[in-house]
């Protein structure tokens, strides 16, 4: 379907401004609000409600929903749709995320804007399908082969499922990179109050379309119209005759499979186009960091019990704070470096055996103590379990 974002129709389909909905459903809302017009998916717990929600709502806003034959096909169709001019998205969980890894890299290499929602469940393998986890955080960063930069957000509540899905589309469009919304089974299957933002309060970013003379256009180099490492986008069917390949390519898009300088130039551009903007992209929440001596560095679902533990400690006069990473990749290393020089200890609660604690340690560089607080098996940390890490402080 040729699609034009119609804010009135979208609102009509979404309904009331204030609602009580599932985290998964909030990802659907975010997608529709952002202007998603193609969704290719395959059912998997605990992300199926995203797929089902899209099946219900996307045709009603005149977008295209397709249930593909598997997750490899889902992400492939999503990338294809993006080149056809759509804002596109898929949703999955661990096993499906694993299947998507090859084409995730293809999206990176071909600089294709698209959004992947991963409602994480425990693994490895089939794991605990209905239970939440944060075990794919490193997979989002390193899961496809070769060097690349990931962009990943981690919602801690249902409202953020909606807001971060909109952000994900905007980041994908701006940087021409796949963007992951790393939700989890806890938040995905949680029902909370959400406020659907008014049209005037939503920021929508669109990729910059190629407009210059077709003979002068160079598809895979710095923008020829702006000061940016992100090239303008030659949507298929607009006459630019662009060749798009996952092979290492030169600026014109043609294979350069045996040329070291071409590879280095390409991969350095598509990674630094993101890392150069780290200050603009970084998105953290800071609680009590002015005086805190012990700090939880958290993200996603595990931020919730950490916040409770922090409040319990504060009530007893302990100087505890929290730094919540709303955007986990690219890693907000400057925030960690700043923090490390001001505090005695950083505690990293995660629903895995310790993943984000590694980049934390890397950037703390021994300036303070770093403690991993893991919990696996599909149960969230309880506040008092995390409080134990604060005892004696």
């Amino acid at each position: 379907m040729k699609y034009k974002r119609d804010p009135e129709l979208i609102r009509d389909v979404l309904g009331k401004k204030i609602q009580f909905i599932l985290g998964d459903m909030a990802c659907v809302y975010g997608g529709l609000l952002a202007g998603c017009s193609f969704f290719g998916g395959y059912p998997i717990t605990p992300a199926s409600e995203v797929t089902e929600g899209m099946a219900r709502m996307l045709p009603r806003v005149k977008g295209t929903y397709m249930q593909m034959e598997d997750e490899i096909g889902s992400i492939a169709s999503v990338i294809g749709a993006s080149w056809g001019g759509a804002k596109s998205m898929t949703a999955t969980s661990g096993p499906g995320f694993s299947l998507m890894m090859e084409n995730y890299g293809f999206a990176v290499m071909t600089e294709t804007p698209c959004v992947i929602v991963n409602v994480q469940r425990t693994g490895p393998s089939t794991g605990q399908p209905t239970l939440g986890a944060q075990g794919d955080m490193m997979q989002a960063k390193w899961g496809t082969h070769g060097d690349f930069e990931a962009i990943a957000l981690a919602p801690s509540n249902v409202q953020e499922c909606m807001d971060f899905t909109i952000d994900a589309f905007n980041l994908a469009e701006k940087y021409r990179n796949p963007v992951c919304v790393m939700a989890d089974g806890e938040i995905g299957h949680l029902r909370e109050r959400v406020v659907v933002p008014d049209e005037k309060d939503i920021k929508i970013v669109d990729r910059v379309p190629a407009t210059i003379d077709k003979k002068k256009f160079i598809p895979f180099t710095n923008s020829q119209t702006r000061n940016s490492k992100v090239p303008d986008f030659p949507t298929f069917g607009t006459g630019y005759h662009t060749y798009v390949t996952g092979l290492t390519h030169n600026e014109r898009g043609f294979p350069a499979t045996d040329k070291q300088p071409d590879h280095e130039k390409l991969v350095k551009r598509i990674t630094s186009k993101i890392t150069d903007d780290i200050d603009k992209i970084t998105n953290v929440e800071k609680l009590y960091l002015d005086d805190a001596k012990t700090v939880f560095v958290t993200y996603g679902a595990s931020a919730r019990p950490a916040e409770s533990a922090m409040e319990m400690a504060r009530a007893k006069g302990k100087k505890v704070g929290m730094l919540r990473l709303k955007l986990v990749w690219p890693f907000p290393y400057k925030e960690i470096q700043k923090l490390a020089s001001n505090v005695d200890e950083i505690i990293v609660p995660e629903m895995n055996l310790g993943q984000i604690v590694h980049p934390v340690r890397e950037y703390v560089e021994g300036q303070c103590k770093v403690v991993s607080a893991p919990k696996i098996g599909g149960e969230m940390h309880l506040p008092h379990e995390l409080y134990k890490y604060l005892e004696g402080k």
């Binding site: 309904g15 169709s77 092979l247």
Partner: protein, 291 residues
């Protein structure tokens, strides 16, 4: 005398000359298939600004690179799923997929069967050389029983796919098979496939002297190409002999590979149906139906 349709005549118009020379070996059939496509496109006067060529990985999948148009060279086996998304985003685009037997029916078999089943409006041009050419001649799902591959050094013991039978069974709107040794029928067939609404697929039998012919003792390039003439038969002829021929004649052709158009039907395509669904939902809404 019919016009001689050489590749040369269309070169300027359709070739992406910056990509020249090709990666193809001497005696490879891929260029002939590209020729057929160019001639079909020329005769249909297809708008090259509105035509996208999609492929997976393999020698055959390199063809979009040589065409002056939009091209998406995807991952191994996945081209049809990518193409599905392109078509969904912009149904006005003509989508032509170049794929190999390994790409389409080995690693990509699942996407192939589901696109055919859904009747996605794309044209698949599948080049079957009985082998994994690009990687040096490993066993393909189309390799004849007993044939030699680097990964079947003692002869293939697996039963090969009949891709056209598979596509027919899936209800594809257009299914045909040709060999690159035929000069004109394939052009007409590619035209029909492109014009067809819904899923269309043409399988081209095409020699790979380097990775297949050499290993299977099919002789030099000339002999190898002749194998295709000697071992194929037009379906009309085949049916005639099977009905009216002598036992001797029947015996002679019974193992030949049939060529021609095997299926030509009109089933509504996926996106046609989808548009109707969207319209239906809008009318319901306009009538004030509940959400």
């Amino acid at each position: 005398m019919p016009e001689v349709r050489t590749a040369d005549k269309l070169k300027k118009k359709y070739l992406r000359e910056e990509m020249w020379p090709t990666i193809f070996c001497n005696g490879c059939g891929n260029g002939v298939v590209l020729d057929y496509a160019f001639w079909a496109i020329e005769e249909l006067d297809l708008d090259m600004d509105k035509t996208v060529f999609v492929s997976g990985i393999g020698c055959s999948s390199r063809l979009p690179g040589y065409i002056n148009a939009d091209g998406l060279h995807t991952t191994h086996g996945r081209s049809i799923a990518f193409a599905t998304g392109i078509k969904a985003a912009n149904p006005d685009l003509n989508i032509i997929i170049f794929t190999g037997d390994g790409d389409c029916t080995g690693i990509g078999g699942n996407h192939f069967i589901h696109a055919a089943r859904r009747n996605i409006d794309v044209t698949v041009i599948l080049i079957n050389n009985f082998t994994y050419g690009m990687t040096g001649g490993q066993l393909a799902p189309t390799a004849p029983l007993g044939s030699i591959a680097t990964t079947a050094p003692y002869g293939n013991i697996e039963h090969p796919f009949d891709i056209c039978e598979l596509a027919k069974a899936l209800g594809a709107n257009y299914v045909a098979r040709w060999s690159v040794t035929y000069p004109y029928q394939p052009i007409k067939s590619v035209k029909e496939a492109i014009q067809k609404k819904g899923f269309s697929m043409i399988e081209f039998l095409s020699p790979c002297p380097t990775a297949y012919g050499r290993r299977n003792k099919l002789g030099d390039i000339k002999k190898h190409w002749k194998w295709y003439d000697d071992n194929t038969i037009l379906i009309e002829e085949y049916n005639k002999i099977m009905e009216y021929g002598t036992d001797e004649e029947k015996e002679k052709i019974k193992n030949k590979i049939q060529l021609g158009v095997f299926q030509d039907i009109e089933k509504p395509g996926f996106f046609e149906q989808y548009e109707k669904l969207v319209e239906r939902l809008q009318t319901k809404k306009d009538k004030g139906m509940k959400k």
